[in-house]
Symmetry: C2
């Protein structure tokens, strides 16, 4: 599929500045958002490692891209192998991190020039992946929700999203956000409701920031307000990313996604999941095989820098929930649309023989 690349809106999260021998990696420090737009200029491997570790760069695809550029810096200092080994320890559960570093290890000779070419290729492929997801998503949305004959600013195509599956998490225009940016670029009036996404407020801090910086019409709501927004008929489509998708299409994503899927179903609004094919774990037969991490109590009780709950209160804080395939209208990957969502259609799009 050929389509004009959409420029990444707002501040770039990952950028190589200069040439292979003397250049450096510039990362947007996402821990300072939304209040400050501050860049980290990484001229040594440890600075890259720290940036990944402390979530200055986050999102599985973005971490992979940052680590690839980190390997170039290692080679500048004559320590490529050591850099590759060290960077792999920065986020031990990030599959894209290992994948990107392994790919860098296959470059021969491992000169800064050759490695920079490969890192730029990884970055560009990730941007292309995002763009393809957006094209597939927009095509599906046009089937599900026919456009008015003339674009009408008073009835924009309205999305509701959760957490941040955006440009800040990828090397391109994001996954769930990709159709929003594409439609906006093509002159279609677009509106986005962004859940703030407790406990860590990725929606308020990151999604509202990047969509606003990209010139989109974004409205921030608390997670518990999505039901009322849907009930008022304001939303055309709910779209989120995913952290891991099982063989049958059950999708794990940030806690709070599953209630949106139930609400979308109740209101007959399409619920879409946008994710690269690398998100699928076909060894997990269904969502029951996806472990749900528990997070620290302080994320709930001291989330805003102020203690907002009794000192000794118990909490229950699952990081993810699993949305069953039957509640997902379609899963959109860079390889195509999975619809209906079941094992047969998952395998037909992202199966090993593909």
């Amino acid at each position: 599929m050929a389509s004009t690349p959409v420029p990444i809106p707002g501040p770039r999260n990952i950028e190589w500045v200069g040439d292979a021998d003397t250049g450096y990696l510039r990362l947007l420090d996402q821990t300072r958002l939304p209040n400050e737009v501050v860049y980290l200029d990484c001229r040594d491997v440890q600075t890259v490692w720290d940036a990944i570790k402390r979530l200055s760069v986050r999102g599985a695809p973005a971490i992979g891209v940052a680590a690839a550029f980190g390997c170039v810096i290692g080679a500048q200092q004559g320590a490529f192998d050591k850099a590759a080994e060290h960077l792999a320890t920065s986020r031990p559960t990030a599959v894209n991190l290992f994948w990107a570093i392994d790919r860098m290890k296959c470059v021969t000779p491992s000169t800064p020039e050759k490695l920079l070419d490969e890192a730029i290729a990884i970055h560009a492929e990730d941007a292309e992946m995002c763009q393809r997801i957006g094209e597939h998503a927009l095509g599906l949305i046009k089937q599900l929700i026919p456009e008015p004959p003339t674009p009408n600013p008073k009835s924009p195509l309205t999305f509701l999203t959760h957490c941040n599956a955006g440009a800040l998490a990828t090397g391109g225009i994001g996954t769930a956000t990709s159709p929003m940016y594409l439609a906006h670029q093509r002159g279609q009036p677009v509106r986005v409701f962004a859940d703030e996404t407790r406990p860590l407020l990725q929606g308020a801090r990151l999604t509202a920031f990047e969509l606003g910086a990209g010139g989109l019409n974004v409205t921030l709501i608390c997670d518990g307000m999505a039901g009322q927004v849907l009930r008022e008929g304001k939303v055309d489509v709910v779209i989120t990313g995913a952290d891991r998708i099982a063989d049958n299409g059950d999708a794990a994503n940030k806690i709070g996604t599953y209630p949106l899927a139930v609400l979308a179903d109740y209101h007959n609004v399409p619920f879409l999941v946008a994710a690269p094919s690398s998100t699928f774990d076909l060894s997990a037969p269904d969502g029951g095989a996806i472990p749900i991490e528990q997070r620290a109590a302080e994320e709930i009780t001291e989330g805003f820098g102020t203690r907002t709950a009794p000192q000794d209160v118990q909490t229950y804080s699952p990081a993810f929930d699993v949305t069953p395939a039957k509640l997902i209208t379609a899963i959109i990957t860079e390889r195509g649309v999975i619809r209906p969502v079941d094992a047969e259609h998952v395998r037909s799009i992202v199966g090993p023989e593909k």
Copy 2:
């Protein structure tokens, strides 16, 4: 219905200290919860007025009780009429405030002794109302969820609630919390999941506090986690209060209640509303007639003294949502249980002829 009154658990929110001529009103300052348990000793009418205005005392029933005691203080100072008039301006939308003050105005002669008797009666009747709601709710719950033959601490009767319809909001053991306290007092193992309730965190600050202070097993969750908690089969019954209930049983309550009702329905878990008969507005034919107040953006974007969203972001912040009658298993009032929830059954329990 006769039942042993359950003592109000934890710190008392409203208490008269001393005799009619020299006594004073002691209010728990709820603005300092959950971090500090601080009392306001009100010895003049203005202090009572300020306490109501700045939400040190909150919840419609509790405001009425506090204003009644405030009238006694006015009489101590020989200015009962002026006190009654002034206190009525403290929260202009609080129906219970006007009701309580009107009732105090009917006391003759308006001596501190006579007025204190009336204020104590208003307080006691409110406590009785709470107790009756709890008895009715517990009776219904026993029909809906048969108890195990022997109480089993490993499978407690588990509630999920939202916001604070608790002892802190009433003159007794609360409305939604009443069956929790009653069951606990009677030796039944009880567990409560409390939604933190964004944006103002009444669940984290108030419900988790009062249930914990009352010795109940309470677990705080973010609003977006309720779906996963229900999906895991942890919840026997969802129960909330209500701000206003229409003739057909549609119920307005704190934003975030409606999604819980949809989720409870999806999981076949009973969804109960507990509210005094004074909550019904039979002049509203259905939920569409209940206006939804919009709240200030800062409650979402600067909830706790920290800016957590971009400076210029738009917000949408409805204070309430409306749960349609068809999603409500039953409404529990002090006069009895409305089930099924429709205009006929609403009128049979709280209609004007009753």
